[in-house]
Symmetry: C2
Subunit: 341 residues, 2 copies
Amino acid sequence: MTTTTNKQWLLAARPEGEARVSDFRLVETPVPQALADGQVLVRHHYLSLDPYMRMRMNDAKSYAAPQPLDAVMIGGTVGEVVASRHPKFAVGDPVVGMGGWQQVAVVDGNALGLLRKVDTTHVPLPAYLGAVGMPGVTAWYGLVKLCQPKAGETVVVSAASGAVGGAVGQLAKVRGCRVVGVAGGAEKCRYVVDELGFDACIDYKQHKDAAALDAALAAAAPNGIDCNFENVGGEILNAVLRRMNAFGRIALCGMISGYEGQPIPLANPALLLTQRLRVEGFIVSEHMEVWPEALKELGTLVATGKLKYRETIAPRIEDAPEAFLGLLKGKNFGKQLVKLL
Amino acid sequence: MTTTTNKQWLLAARPEGEARVSDFRLVETPVPQALADGQVLVRHHYLSLDPYMRMRMNDAKSYAAPQPLDAVMIGGTVGEVVASRHPKFAVGDPVVGMGGWQQVAVVDGNALGLLRKVDTTHVPLPAYLGAVGMPGVTAWYGLVKLCQPKAGETVVVSAASGAVGGAVGQLAKVRGCRVVGVAGGAEKCRYVVDELGFDACIDYKQHKDAAALDAALAAAAPNGIDCNFENVGGEILNAVLRRMNAFGRIALCGMISGYEGQPIPLANPALLLTQRLRVEGFIVSEHMEVWPEALKELGTLVATGKLKYRETIAPRIEDAPEAFLGLLKGKNFGKQLVKLL
């Protein structure tokens, strides 16, 4: 151990509308010096910031219990074992877990799924928080299991330059689909097409009303849309819905445009009927049965350079709240991480 | 043949907003006196009026081609064969088909699915337009294949006293579910509970705002809603959505509240995500593979008196447009038919 204190971010207040930095509180606590039997002490290298955290900050009916006030914010982490009283974990092991917004964590090595050793020979450690982690499996589950795209079909994915969206598009390209991304800004769109290999990308910031979005989608998806992987909701979803083909599938992964403030209505739900669409909301942690298959494909694609991704890394734990608020506004580029070491 | 003329209703104009009687035109044409080889002449006893017809009247993107102007309105019919040049159909055979809003029709006996002989020993002929016909199979498909209710789950169905809704609820009761209907008016609600055996019924006319609908649903579905068979859409669907349990299923069969005029938005689509719901729109004619299994259960239940239904019969073909417009406003009670003989 190089330090004896653990910096931690707690949820200080539930946001009213937009979350603010003052909703979080930084504290320092002593690092436990003695482990109980079965426990593992992990030093975190990176924290993952993800949109789902915003919903957890509310005290509302959702897919998970709210984040408790005055407790360490939840979050995925990668790091290394620095002390262990569990036979399966040795000092130096690279691990991925749900360590939260803090520098170190004491983890019960027996708790199923809490801590997992990973192989960093071919896959860099932080990728286990992105393309070969929860965001990657989220992309895989929604695309493969819910959208079930066939070669030649058109797949649209919003937040296309993000950790999930980028993986969705590349997995769809592997399956022979035409892939259209939606992203905020010319730079993100260039990245999505030029680096990730999408067929087209719509910069929603350049298409502010329904007619403009419709025209852009018509140009990018001339044969209509068969699959939609939705991360954003709101007017983008409304426009996509207007262009869905019969028997289209929508995997509802996120509605980030409505996480803060009033819900954004779905303008014309009758299209679900007239086009016989299937819409399904999901959260990947409820589908653990697909993780091995998904991680195998994702890990192979990353190791062979066929699945690309970008990371935005906030350099210090102190930056976590601001980086998180930026993520909610789309200021990040690719996977948003915080360096904790 | 007792007459030589055939009264027919044509679509005269596409409605702007609400459909009107003047959108239809009654004509008389001669009954063909000579059949070609393979043709069958059918005299219709009853015409089925169904909400889907309203969408066909529009020239809009929908699940089927628009009803052509100046052509006989489409519609399901039951009747008897009065002349036949097809070996499978004999004079006197009771048949069900898609004869349209007219008294007689010449049908190609070889066209798959256009004409079907039925057994009227245990099931009355008009039931083949209702509980043992398209509406019954619609109920069966949406409930059994899409909602997939388990015993003990709560099923909500709108337009509960209608041909589809009534069958949905009774099929769900057979499967051990708690069944809540939504219908318009105290008389329909009494019928749904007292005669069809639903556990509860909400008279939406008595619950005009969101808070009142929420309270009524909370009382009728104290354990939340697992399955929703949706025939109406609009505020009822919004209220149901607010009470859906995690992993709920919504079979989207009709959105009759929005068929005329502006689309009614879905107020909070993020609930589809937070509750991980599955919504699927369908039209039963695209799932012909289930018809034999569905008709077997429906026919048995009707023949044994376990599936009840009510019919509203307009007495003359001249009444068809007015009866149809009444159906769109919920003025009918149960299955709406028009007597053509």
